[in-house]
Every structure is written in C-alpha cells, then in structure tokens.
Amino acid sequence: MLSWPNFFSQFFNGLALGALLALISSGLTIIYGTLGVLNLAHGAMFMLGGYAGFVAWQHTGSFALAVLAGSLFMVVVGVLIERVVIRNFYRRPHEDQILVTFGIGIVLVELVRLGFGSDTVSIQPPAWAMGVTPLGFLIYPTYRIVVLGIAAAALLVLYFVLYRTRIGMIVRAGIEDSGMVDILGINVNHVFMLVFGIGAMAAGFAGIVNAPVVALTPDAGDTILVETFVVVVIGGVGSFPGAVLGGLIAGEILSLTSMVDPSYSEVMLFAVMTLVLVLRPQGLLGQQDRA
C-alpha cells in the first residue's frame, strides 16, 4: 500500500522496531565479542526477563518497579549461568558452546512453561502511556513511542558504560584481545561474568519493555533470537555500534518492505544479510579478524 502517510507510518514503526532490536542485539554482540560465546539462549533470556517483569508487576502494580526488578533478576540469572555453566565452556569448541547455550535456552523456556503454562500474559504499561497519540501523518500507540524512547535511552546508557567508564574500557579491551587483558593483571573471569550479566540484562530489559506491546508466551524468544542474529551479522559481530546500526536497518527493512508486500519482509531481511555477508563478511561496522 504505497502512500505517503503509510510510508511515514511504516518508517516510524521501523524506527521503533529497530531500536528494540538494537537493544537486544547489543547484549548478544558484547557477549560474543568479549567471551567468544555465541549465546543461543539470548532469546530465552529476552522471554525470561519479560516474565520476571510480569511477576514483579503483578505484585507491585508498578511498571517502573517491574522493569527494575526484572532487570536485576536477569543480571543475577546471567551471572549464575556464566558461573555454573558457561565458564566451563570457554576452552571448548564453538559447537559445544552453541549446544550448551541452546540447551540452556530450552531449559529456561520449559521452566517458564511449567510455571506459567502456554497462555499469554501481559504487562500493563503505565496509565500515562496508554492510548494512541496523533502524530499528524498517523495515529500511533503511545506506549510504542515510549518504547522507542526507553530503548534509545538504554542504548545511550550502554554506550556511556562501554565508552566512558573504566569497566567499559576493560570490556572493550577484552573484545579486542582478552588474552592481553589477562596478562595485564585484570581478572578476566570477573569481566566475563559481568559482561554475561549485562548481556542477559539487556535482553531481559528489552523483554520487559516489549511485554506491553507483544503479550508474552514461553516461546516469545524464538523469533527474536533469529532476528537478533541477523542484526548482529549485518552490523558486525562483536561491535556495539554495529548492533545499533544493524537493528535500525533491520527494523526499517521489516517495516518498509511490508508496505509493498508483507510476505516479503523477512525474505528481504535475509536477502540483505546475505548481501552483507558476500560484500562485507565482517559486517558493516565489524572488524576483519573478528568476523
């Protein structure tokens, strides 16, 4: 349906979708960049964060507390998973790492299913963010605009932590060469644990923020995981700015293609990923040796 109002609607929607994808992908990409582990449980962490937020919201009725409690819970879960399982796999082949994180994902999904069933659950956004906002060319759900703001703010915080703090500097150094960081006397194990915790939190945080938009089910992470990987591949594996750029590109591809024919939106996403892999295998902002 080609018309200017629809184009602007879809472009704006792509931005909102992209910001969320960027946030989830940034968690995945810093985990891979630092730890070298491809975390296939990332989608499950997105889902688990949503459920953690849901429980907190049920008990407190406060959206802000749900976001806070859910995010903290995910840091703890992330740290625990890293300590108990992932740590034993750093020296194992990539196939083992993929299998074990895939397994963790299944366990998390089935545990949630055991506790909550397969029915959908939703978190209500705060009262002021409900309803629709007229934006001139379209009416748009107010909360989705809020999501765009929250995701952008969260990305800024992540940027600040990674690029303006000492711990961020160590993490970025770890992404470049974790062996050298170790030699310099920094406890790499602690850094790895922290990074996995932050990565899990980014996914979980996105899960909570997204829960009022898309009702939660135990399988909510499946599609997100695939899209997140595409984002990371387009943006460049291990690159935080790459995840942001890749997220926005993916959001726009999904949204703008569906203006012409929605059944091609995912095809286009994969077509662009293929194109990037052919022309620039390390991703748009990735580095050659890391790809």
Binding site: M1, S9, Q10, R144, V213, V214, A215, T217, D219
Partner: protein, 443 residues
C-alpha cells in the same frame, strides 16, 4: 506379524475365519477381519489386549493453547471408551468397554504445529507402538502432512483442528477423516450473517496467516462476501507465529477498510487483536473472526470481543440446545475444571466416531473401518445428528455463528458469546470434488 500369520494358518483360526465368513455373508456390511492380509499396523497393533492411539499435537508454540484443549478432549474420550461411559455410547452405540473389547492406551508427542515434527511423531507411533490410529493437529499444515503419512503407511489418521479447505480438498486421502468445520463452510455460514448485520458493499481488510489454512479461508471469505458487494481493501499476509503485527496493522489502519477480518488462529489471533486495539483499529473497523480460535475471548477479554462476529465449531452454551453437549460439557468440566472449547469437542468427537466406525466394522482392519466411515450413517453428536461424506471424508456438521457479548450481558465468567445461528452443514459445503479431492486407494 509372523505370529499372526502362523495363527491364521492354524486349524482353529481357519474354523474361526470360516465362522466369521459365514456371519459376514449373513450380515451385510460386516467383515471377515481375521483373514485379512497385513496392512499398515494391522494386525500387529490389535493382536493384544490393548490398542494404541498416537496423539501428535502442538504443546509449544503459537498453537499450544488450543493444542492442550484438543488433547484434553482425547483424554476424556479415551477414559470414556475404556469405562464404557453412557455419553460415548450415545455416539458409538456398539461400544461396551474399550474398542472391540480392547482397552485403549495412548502416547502424546509435541508437534509444535510443525509439519516435520508431526510426521516424525506419527512415524514413531506407527513403527514403535504399532498405533492403530494417529490423531491430532491444530495447524492444517501438519494435518495435510499427516494425511500423506497416513495414506502411505496405511494407518488411519484423524485431524484435530484443521480449517484449510485442502485437508479434505486437494490433499484429501482415503485414510483420513475430518470432524471440524473449515474455511469454505465457515465463510458460507458467516458471510450472509455479516452482510445482513453490517450491510452491503463494505470494504474488508484481511489479516492472513501464510499457509494453507489462511489462504483457503481468505479465498472462501472473499468469494462469499462478494455476493453482498464486499470488496477487499487490503490482504496482509503474515508468517505463522509473527510476534509483532505493527507493520501489517499500519497497512490495515491506512487501508480505509470498514471491516477487519482476522483469519489468524491461536496465539497469533490473540496478539494481533490486542495490537489492533493499540493501533486504534478496533474503534474504526468492525472486527470479524471467521474461524474462531479456542480461548480467544478469555485471552483478549470481553471488552475487545463484544460485538465481534465469529464462526465456530462448538460453544458450551449449546448445552441448552443439544443434550449430548450438556453431558459433554458437564463431564469435561468435572474432569478438567473449565468449560471445553471447540478443540476439546473436536478431539472427543473424533475418537468417539472412530470407535463407532471400528465397532461397526467389527475389526481393526483399516479398509473395513474406512468402509464403515464411508457408509455415512447418521451419528449423534454434541451438535445434533451428523454424518461423514464418503466422497471426501468430511463430516457434514453445522457451523455455529456467534457474537461476542458485552461484559454487562454475560451471565457467568465464561459466557462470552451469544449463539446467533446453528447453520446446517449440508448447504454450506462445496461439491465433494470442487477442491480436487481424490481419495486414493484403501489397500
């Protein structure tokens, strides 16, 4: 299998066979099962004291919730069959306890609504458990795939929920029988009600899941609404299990449609309706659900479903019209603690009618069971008398048209819909060969 061949050739078996043959000549329609050649899992699957039913059903993914409902219908039916419950004997009058005196056991495997997984489950039940029957589906993609497996393996298969025209249309097989209503019957039943209540010459926006079910229901709806002068403003085709419908819904919001026809099923229907409300679509366009999904009203809430037109297979307040529905709802609620949705009804009825066919065939020999089905006698059901159509193995059964009640009008927490019409099935169905059904051989 060697065992049974040996037994057939024994003196006793020959006498038994001859006796059965004599009875068969006296009673037309009965079989001489003991002498039939091995086919599929016959006779290995029914040579002991028990028979095994393989249930493959989505317990995860977007169709998990209706899947669980269908499964509970199966569980109640199996319990009733083994106990010889009066309810199941109203549907299958020859049933005493079990099926042909054999207790029914079952196994359940999750298909995730994926055709490949469903076929793997079915194959495993056939090879490992010698299942005499495979049943279950919520997606027509899995039903169609299992149809093909059933025909190849010569083991009877019964879809659970399957709304595509193809299941008993171009992908029909001799070894499969469908209980539930489907795109064509849904559209034929609901379209006139919509034209009558909403008006003529309206513009419709469709949200269509991208597989056989979605496409055939969409096609049938367009065809029947055309008679009322309705046109299509847009048709948005979305993949199964799409979590975020925003881009599709923006197209629908900008399409200028009067009516929003949502063909999604399961969690997809829940998500897309909730999101449509976020985009302000439900205030501007009238929502219609031509193939209503179990638990939709409970999941999206009465407020969003008030005034929504939907076609369905069964709704619990039919207990006021049909005595069997009353018994079924009571028995189901006693066992599972909630009012059965239409998936449970489909599951229960499928197994009850299969037991009836086996009892009438007096054998587990599949070609005889198929003949018993195809004979198409009138069967009592939870929606009144029904019968199978031999030419495409589709049950001729009514379609229920319902409308969402306002919260204030609900008499109990589960009283979401008002049943507007129970439209008789015969007039809703296409000619048996209109969708290219060719059943294939029984042997």
């Amino acid at each position: 299998m060697t065992d049974s061949v040996g037994r057939v050739s024994s003196r006793r078996a020959i006498i038994q066979g001859a006796a059965a043959g004599a009875v068969a000549t006296l009673l037309p329609g009965t079989s001489r099962a003991a002498n039939e050649p091995a086919i599929g899992t016959y006779p290995a699957g029914s040579s002991g004291d028990t028979v095994f039913i393989g249930i493959t059903i989505p317990r995860t993914g977007t169709y998990a919730v209706p899947g669980e409902d269908v499964l509970k219908g199966y569980q109640l039916a199996i319990e009733h069959l083994n106990a010889g419950d009066p309810l199941i004997r109203m549907i299958s009058p020859h049933t005493s306890k079990g099926v042909l005196g054999k207790q029914v056991t079952s196994g359940v495997a999750d298909s995730g609504a994926k055709p490949n997984d469903a076929v793997q489950n079915g194959s495993r039940f056939i090879s490992q458990n010698k299942a005499v029957l495979i049943t279950g589906s919520v997606s027509s993609a899995e039903a169609v795939a299992l149809n093909k497996l059933a025909q190849r393996e010569k083991v009877i298969y019964l879809p659970g929920i399957s709304g595509s025209n193809d299941t008993t249309g171009k992908d029909c097989v001799r070894y499969s029988f469908r209980e539930c209503f489907y795109g064509q019957t849904a559209a034929a039943a609901i379209a006139p009600v919509m034209v009558k209540n909403i008006g003529k010459n309206k513009k419709a926006a469709y949200l269509v899941p991208d597989y056989t079910y979605g496409h055939t229901v969409h096609q049938s709806m367009e065809q029947f609404l055309k008679a009322g002068g309705w046109t299509t403003a847009t048709a948005q085709v979305a993949p199964l299990g799409a979590p975020d419908y925003s881009s599709y819904l923006l197209n629908i919001a900008n399409s200028g449609a009067d009516v929003f026809i949502n063909i999604n099923f399961g969690n997809d229907a829940v998500q897309s309706i909730k999101q449509a409300q976020q985009f302000g679509i439900l205030g501007k366009q009238i929502l219609s659900v031509p193939y209503n999904t179990p638990f939709l009203a409970r999941d999206v809430g009465a407020d969003l479903m008030a005034g929504v037109y939907a076609a369905t297979d069964f709704w619990w307040t039919l207990e006021d019209r049909f005595p069997l529905a009353k018994q079924f709802v009571a028995a189901f609620e006693k066992k599972f603690g909630y009012k059965p949705e239409w998936g449970a009804n489909a599951g229960y009825m499928q197994l009850a009618m299969w037991a009836d066919a086996v009892e009438r065939a007096k054998s587990f020999y599949p070609p005889d069971i198929i003949k018993a089905y195809e004979a198409g006698p009138e069967i009592q059901s939870t929606v009144g008398p029904v019968r199978f159509r031999g030419a495409d193995h589709q049950l001729i059964r009514p379609v229920i048209i319902e409308r969402g009640k306002k919260k204030a009008d609900m008499k109990s927490a589960d009283d979401y819909y008002e049943v507007l019409e129970v439209v008789p099935g015969e007039g809703l169905m296409q000619a048996p060969d209109a969708f290219g059904c060719s059943l294939g051989p029984a042997t």
